[in-house]
């Protein structure tokens, strides 16, 4: 199964310049996908989750178009081809 993880520009340097990461592994949930990402790009997952495995307070995680806050959090199930999008607050104007 393959899902993709889309990063905001602030996290691109932690993924060696990639703004979209392909996650190819059996990962049934968002949490498992982020754990898979951690194996190769540990800095990316560390920026999204605390060491207790909790989504950092000012970070939003979407699967497809839906925020996981209104789904099952990190237990939100994934299907082949899903896109996980990380959205952070920006303040410029």
């Amino acid at each position: 199964m393959t899902v993709s993880l889309r990063l905001p520009h602030a996290l691109v340097p932690y993924a060696r310049g990639s703004s979209t990461l392909a996650v190819e592994a059996p990962c049934a949930t968002v949490g498992e996908a982020l754990a898979t990402v951690a194996a190769r790009w540990p800095a990316v997952t560390d920026r999204i989750l605390t060491e207790q495995g909790v989504v950092r307070r000012h970070v939003n995680v979407f699967v497809g178009n839906e925020s996981i806050r209104f789904l099952d959090g990190l237990a939100t199930p994934l299907s082949h081809g899903d896109t996980i999008t990380i959205v952070a607050a920006v303040s410029g104007g």
Partner: protein, 371 residues
């Protein structure tokens, strides 16, 4: 900065809410070069410079509100920094705690070049044995029986101060806002509250065993048993490594303040920056005054030469004062207004060496090749 600093260079490392700056000068400390910002846009609450083990390593804790906190290392005077492959300081999963901020980085003894200590929020002490690359929490403090009853202060529940004993290596002191001062005599296995005589104005019981909002504690290697303490209201000295404390607020305009700095060569000389009050956190009378005692707190005198004496609504945070190890000691004070004041004559006279930095969180200094 492409060129390495030659021996004798005086460095002033300044952490701000918007990144870190490295100020450098020759030993005369007349002309200063400002290098930075490092980590622009991130807060830097802790910095250290470490020349042990045959390398010159700069350590900085960079913090982003979104992406958390991590300790970064540079072995080339800030030209390049280690990337945060992993958040270096991690609480064990069993603790249920997650790192909020690194407040203090303190290299260990000269003959144990790998050892570095870090004080963090939520209150915990971490130790590194490989120069700051990997860290582990000191379990005795993490499991402390008082922990459930510690309350966070205005800066969060932060462990911000680490005091070593130059001789007795099993002894160490730490200060937590607002839990107070704790000491271990067995290398960190057990920790005892050592706050007798220190007042907690904001609590119903003014002299509790712990719960004081200690802002800073300093000591001098020549007299390790004697500690000086700047409290959230209150200025104290202990002559027995914290067993009890005496009030030494003699002749200061306010005994509220954050920063406190030991003279590098004289164990009787200490510097503070009194602040008007916890309600109005600026220097009293809008006059920027550093106070110095030369008799271990029996008397304090204002140092004003070269410091702004009107309309100076400045505040100096707990780690924003430092003293260099030059023969004639230099003092450095960073303000929330983004100024860095420096004295090359032990505080007798001052100059502004940086005028418009972001709000200053911490200041450390080092003389290259001094150890």
């Amino acid at each position: 900065m492409p060129t390495r600093h030659p021996p004798g260079t005086v460095l002033v490392l300044v952490g701000t809410t918007k990144g870190a700056f490295i100020l450098s000068s020759s030993a005369e400390r007349g002309e200063w070069t400002v290098d930075g910002p490092h980590f622009p846009g991130q807060s830097v609450y802790a910095v250290a410079y470490d020349e042990r083990g045959g390398r010159t390593r700069t350590l900085m804790a960079s913090w982003s509100n979104h992406w958390g906190s991590t300790i970064r290392l540079s072995d080339d005077d800030g030209a390049t920094w280690t990337g945060p492959e992993r958040q270096a300081v991690r609480f064990p999963e069993s603790s249920g705690l997650a790192l909020a901020q690194v407040w203090q980085i303190a290299p260990g003894y000269a003959d144990e070049p790998g050892v570095v200590w870090a004080g963090v929020e939520p209150a915990a002490l971490f130790k590194s044995s490989d120069g700051g690359e990997s860290w582990a929490a000191v379990d005795g403090l993490l499991q402390h029986e008082h922990r459930p009853r510690w309350m966070p202060g205005g800066g969060g529940l932060c462990l911000h101060t680490i005091v070593r004993d130059p001789v007795n290596r099993d002894r160490m002191g730490i200060a937590i806002s607002t839990a107070g001062f704790y000491r271990t005599d067995d290398g960190g296995a057990t920790w005892q509250a050592r706050n007798q005589g220190v007042r907690a104005v904001f609590l119903p019981n003014k002299y509790p065993e712990f719960g004081q909002c200690v802002h800073k504690v300093v000591s001098h290697p020549a007299r390790p048993e004697r500690l000086f303490l700047q409290n959230h209201w209150g200025l104290y000295r202990s002559d027995n490594w914290g067993d009890d404390w005496q009030d030494i607020a003699n002749g200061v305009p306010s005994d509220f303040g954050f920063a406190m700095q030991m003279h590098p060569h004289d164990p009787d000389t200490v510097y503070i920056v009194p602040i008007q009050s916890d309600e109005f956190r600026v220097v009293p009378d809008a006059r920027m005054r550093v106070y110095r005692t030369r008799d271990a707190g029996a008397s304090w005198h204002a140092l004003t030469d070269g410091l702004p004496q009107h309309d100076a609504f400045e505040c100096v945070l707990r780690d924003a004062m430092a003293a260099d190890a030059c023969e004639r000691a230099g003092l450095y004070v960073g303000t929330r207004g983004g100024k860095v004041f420096a004295s090359a004559d032990e505080g007798d006279s001052w100059r502004t060496i940086a005028d418009a930095l972001p709000p200053v969180c911490c200041v450390k200094t080092a003389v290259v090749g001094a150890r």
